[in-house]
């Protein structure tokens, strides 16, 4: 059995390598071009720093607003798709819907929303909301399914209503996890939002793509550096907040 799995895995990888034209020689031949590209990126052009910072700010705004809206919208969805809270006729369709919408990436949502509402950061926000709502709802529902039964029994035994049971038996158990998941999504959304500008959905990605198209690699490298710093700062702040939650 194990031998068969190994064989099938290796065969699949070999086929994928052949089908994608993966070729170390080609990579080696491309190395000088890569080095040339890097060489033309230094030194970074400081004159585009204001534009890069403005773009970074927009990206952070897109991620913040989109994640915040999704954190709230995901709440009812999360409860409805938790096996131990929702009745089966609700749970199964809710789970299926989550898995369906979650399989579409933020960038694809951005393409759709740019087509729907036009260019700019707003379709970017909508794209973040679209993906994050379903992915958070899935995380929420798993947190809800992992709760201790005891406090729920105890609250039920007081004669509480279903809503009171959720509020006092379930929510205190899952809230720290929920906040932690939201912060984690914020970190990944900052990264996802850096490329939203490629498809016209605003933020720092727009500048990166523009300078690359203009073959202004020194300006592009300024934008890249700002992106890296922005992501690192948000990661650091967010992970520090998450550590304090557990």
């Amino acid at each position: 059995m194990r031998r068969a799995v190994t064989f099938v895995t290796l065969a699949a990888l070999a086929w994928a390598a052949w089908d994608t034209g993966a070729d170390p020689v080609r990579l080696a031949r491309g190395l000088p071009w890569l080095l040339d590209f890097l060489r033309r990126m230094v030194p970074p052009d400081p004159s585009v720093l204001p534009a890069a910072l403005a773009g970074a700010l927009t990206t952070v705004e897109i991620a913040l607003l989109g994640t915040a809206a999704a954190a709230v919208l995901a709440l009812p969805l999360g409860f409805l798709s938790a096996r131990n809270v929702a009745a089966p006729p609700v749970f199964y369709p809710a789970r299926a819907a989550l898995n369906f919408f979650r399989s579409v990436d933020t960038l694809v949502y951005a393409l759709v929303f740019v087509a729907a509402v036009g260019l700019g950061p707003f379709p970017g926000v909508l794209a973040v909301v679209g993906y994050t709502t379903t992915s958070l709802a899935k995380l929420y529902s798993e947190a809800i399914e992992g709760i201790e039964r005891g406090p729920v029994d105890a609250i039920t035994a007081t004669g509480a209503t279903r809503l009171q049971i959720l509020r006092f038996g379930v929510l205190p158990q899952v809230l720290p996890l929920f906040v932690s998941y939201v912060l984690y999504r914020l970190e990944t959304n900052i990264r996802a939002a850096t490329v939203l500008g490629f498809v016209g959905a605003g933020g720092i990605g727009f500048y990166l793509q523009t300078y690359l198209r203009m073959i202004d690699y020194r300006a592009a490298s300024t934008v890249l550096l700002v992106t890296v710093v922005m992501v690192m700062v948000v990661d650091a702040v967010s992970s520090r907040l998450r550590d304090r939650l557990v």
Binding site: T156, T158, A160, L163, L175
Partner: protein, 248 residues
């Protein structure tokens, strides 16, 4: 106070946890359910307020039907029945006082309580209940920062906050240091004597059961095999309950 007739509980997949249980508890009794583990003690207590759904039979508490009650009627019954659990089952991240306040959930306006607002007199009552178990000074401490004995006393205060007619306690001392058994059982006896509350408590320790009960109900393999005063619990009775496997 508690009327059980022909109670049968089949747990999934097909375990007969209780069968043909008849039990009539009068007001003010301190009933201890005695039996080996797996005899159905926990299932019986949880069936009384329908945390476990009875398969057949009838249950009435304080004159109200428990079996066949609508969700609203069931909540009205439950709020008059305090429950104490082996694992305390406090909400860990809430303070001791907030845990006791949850005992008022069956009485306060649902939406206001969900927003975290409780009427002042319910807060006062919760403080009183906490003081009665000797924990007034720990009101603001988070439940998971309390010792096991303190947590169980908070759980008793939560049950008292329900202004109950009956308190059900499922092995209330089994998760505690044996040295604390007496203090928890004493607290329950005080409730029984001073407030005249009816208590139905499960215990696996024979000596503790005999020391506190006014009446012993012996369960074995889901059936009542003994029902009488502690003084009538003779060695043959113990053998009947424990199947001769356990001796004193």
């Amino acid at each position: 106070m508690v009327e059980v007739a022909g109670l049968r509980v089949v747990l999934p997949p097909a375990v007969v946890a209780l069968d043909s249980v008849d039990l009539s508890v009068r007001p003010g009794e301190f009933v201890v359910i005695l039996g080996p583990s797996g005899s159905g003690k926990t299932t019986l207590l949880r069936a009384l307020n329908r945390l476990v759904e009875p398969t057949a039979g009838t249950i009435r508490i304080g004159g109200r039907a428990v079996t066949g009650a609508s969700p609203t009627e069931l909540r009205l019954v439950r709020r008059q029945v305090g429950m104490i659990f082996q694992q305390f089952n406090l909400v860990r991240r809430l303070s001791a006082l907030d845990n006791v306040l949850t005992g008022r959930l069956g009485y306060v306006a649902p939406l206001a309580s969900v927003a975290g607002r409780f009427p002042e007199r319910d807060r006062i009552l919760a403080r009183d209940c906490l003081a009665q178990v000797g924990l007034a000074q720990l009101a603001t401490r988070r439940a998971d920062k309390l010792s096991g004995g303190e947590q169980q006393r908070v759980a008793i205060a939560r049950a008292l906050a329900q202004s109950p007619g009956v308190i059900l306690a499922d092995e209330p001392t089994a998760s505690l240091d044996p040295a604390l058994t007496g203090s928890i059982m004493d607290a329950l006896r005080r409730i029984n004597v001073e407030r005249g509350l009816t208590l139905v408590v499960s215990q696996h320790q024979l000596a503790t059961a005999l020391a506190y009960a006014t009446r012993i109900v012996g369960l074995r393999q889901g059936r009542v095999v003994f029902d009488g005063p502690p003084s009538a619990v003779t060695p043959p009775v113990v053998d009947t309950i424990y199947g001769g496997a356990v001796s004193r």
